[in-house]
């Protein structure tokens, strides 16, 4: 595909069981920024069966347009059905950029669609921007196990396609009642050509998984005891997060091992890691240094944790944590 395209930045909206994967909204946020730099618009592409109720959410998170394909063959994710539908929509409406979530399903879909469109695709992108001079999309991804970063371009083919990992970009602001244009696209699909049928499903058991938490409030030796951790649990609950701990806090018996972060505990990568009373030994840092944003509170200005923190606060956590809890309650209209 090398033909002239309208300047639309598209996001593939991943939905399962009529629930949108939140990474789709994160991508709408970044698509908006790219569209502004291209003086274009943002659109979501929604595939499924009887999913038109979901369009209001897509508009609320910033889409100007939603392309929707509704078909019984799209009732649940199957590669051939989804790939053909997305390919047909892109072929007809020619986006400049097409972003997909780098989730298992998104990655499954992206490779097939890029091939059908005969265009370039960059996987697991962690940074996206528009080159001011050429207006090309700059797609940066880690390579060789994160040892190097590579910026990829796709200069002569459209759409420029990239898949993006969840929680790389922030959730954009949600604006209730925002609307836009809905374009319904007809695509012919048959069971015969799809070729695959789901005959069973074994859902994953739910367990406490701090590895997947978006917010972790972690405590160390400075917390001083179980009562201190009770405050951290109160704070993490308000943020829909989990509580983490250093090895010293676990060994002191203030909190159970499943909360331990670090080399001998769990590796986490939340959006926000709030380290309270943790000095930040290398073994602890190894388990959390890839967090998107690290905020530390420690009484000791020389604590190692500050070296990797986005925000370091030197002071007594007992003064600031209760105030923070009250402030968030106020923000949420709970106090």
């Amino acid at each position: 595909m090398t033909a002239e395209t309208s300047k639309e930045v598209w996001v593939y909206i991943e939905q399962e069981e009529k629930a949108i994967h939140p990474v789709s909204f994160e991508l709408l946020g970044v698509a908006k920024r790219l569209a502004q730099d291209l003086e274009g618009i943002t659109a979501g592409v929604l595939l499924g069966h009887e999913v038109s109720d979901l369009t209001s959410e897509i508009f609320a998170y910033g889409a100007d347009k939603v392309y929707i394909v509704s078909h019984p063959a799209l009732a649940y994710y199957r590669h051939r059905a989804y790939a053909k539908a997305l390919y047909e929509v892109a072929k007809r409406y020619k986006p400049e950029i097409l972003l997909l979530p780098a989730t298992p399903l998104g990655r499954d879909l992206a490779g097939g669609v890029a091939t059908l469109l005969e265009t370039g695709l960059t996987a697991d992108v962690t940074e996206l921007s528009i080159d001011k001079a050429t207006k090309n999309l700059l797609m940066t991804r880690p390579a060789y196990g994160g040892n190097i970063m590579a910026t990829i371009i796709c200069p002569d083919h459209r759409p420029q396609m990239a898949s993006v990992r969840p929680r790389i970009f922030p959730m954009p602001e949600r604006k209730e009642g925002r609307t836009g244009e809905i374009i319904t696209v007809e695509v012919e699909l048959s069971e015969e050509e799809v070729g695959v049928e789901r005959i069973g499903f074994i859902p994953k058991e739910k367990t406490v998984k701090i590895e997947l938490a978006e917010v972790i409030v972690a405590g160390g030796k400075g917390i001083g005891g179980k009562e201190g951790f009770a405050k951290l649990f109160e704070l993490s609950k308000l943020l829909n997060g989990e509580v983490g701990a250093s090895r010293l806090a676990v060994e002191a018996g203030w909190i159970s091992y499943e909360h331990q972060v670090g080399q001998t505990g769990k590796t986490v990568r939340p959006k926000v890691y709030l380290a309270v009373g943790i000095s930040g030994a290398i073994q602890h840092r190894a388990g959390m240094q890839n967090s998107d944003c690290i905020i530390s509170i420690n009484i000791d200005p020389k604590a190692d944790i500050f070296k990797i923190s986005d925000l370091g606060i030197v002071g007594d956590w007992k003064k600031i944590i209760p105030a923070l809890i009250e402030r968030i309650k106020k923000e949420k209209g709970l106090g």
Partner: protein
Amino acid sequence: MLNLLVSIKQVPDTTNIRINPETGTLIREGVPAVINPYDISALALACNLKKTYGGKITVITMGPPQARLALKEAIEYFADRIILLTDRRFAGADTLATSYTLAEAIKFLEKTDRPFDLYLFGKQAIDGDTAQVGPGVAARLNVPVITYTIKIEELDLEKRKIVVQRKTERGIEILSARLPVLLTCEKEAGHPVFSPLSAILQAQKAEPEVFGADGRIPYDLNRLGLKGSPTRVHRVYTPEIKKQGKMINLDEVGVEAAVEEIIKLFKAKGVL
């Protein structure tokens, strides 16, 4: 009798990768090359299927001439035919050109021999981690693809039907598909076993059939290698080590201002 195709890639052992601190480039010298671990699972799965159902295993790879070593190793998994696609014109291929090169070769093999029942790929290669080539080849062969395969539950050659378990974010899907189908394999799909001495000896002697862009496989030269790749590497750099951010002293700025700093970051990160 099953006719199986396994596609493999020789990759640098990424656990051994070092970066030249001055130039920021990879030090390739002395880095051992191995068969991509997910492709080993695909090979082991093919080996198990051959034991159960009988049949033939063809293993294909695209790469530099030394990729023949990966194919020789595949003989230990009871591969019957090994194919090396190597040509300077294949070099610099991104995933689109790679899937084209592989798919055309597979079509050529099917035309000159007989069609495959199953195409087995690793879920991704550990050097690029893209997971794009398997679905790309399936699109070009116009066959269904099932990614993240962990197990074949059932295979009925007469009914041309297969039942596969695949891993998704929410659990395990059980899918029924008609043959032929392309599967990309998770580690669980097949476990390497110790090869008998006879297979190891055979592997030492084996040499792959070599194909290039010389016309035997009817390649469109414009779709090969760097020329056939829509993506370009614009810049390569070593990631910056995280720098220390803002520091504030609670006693100097006061509790209220410190709380506002935290709230500001919570909002910027979308967690509040």
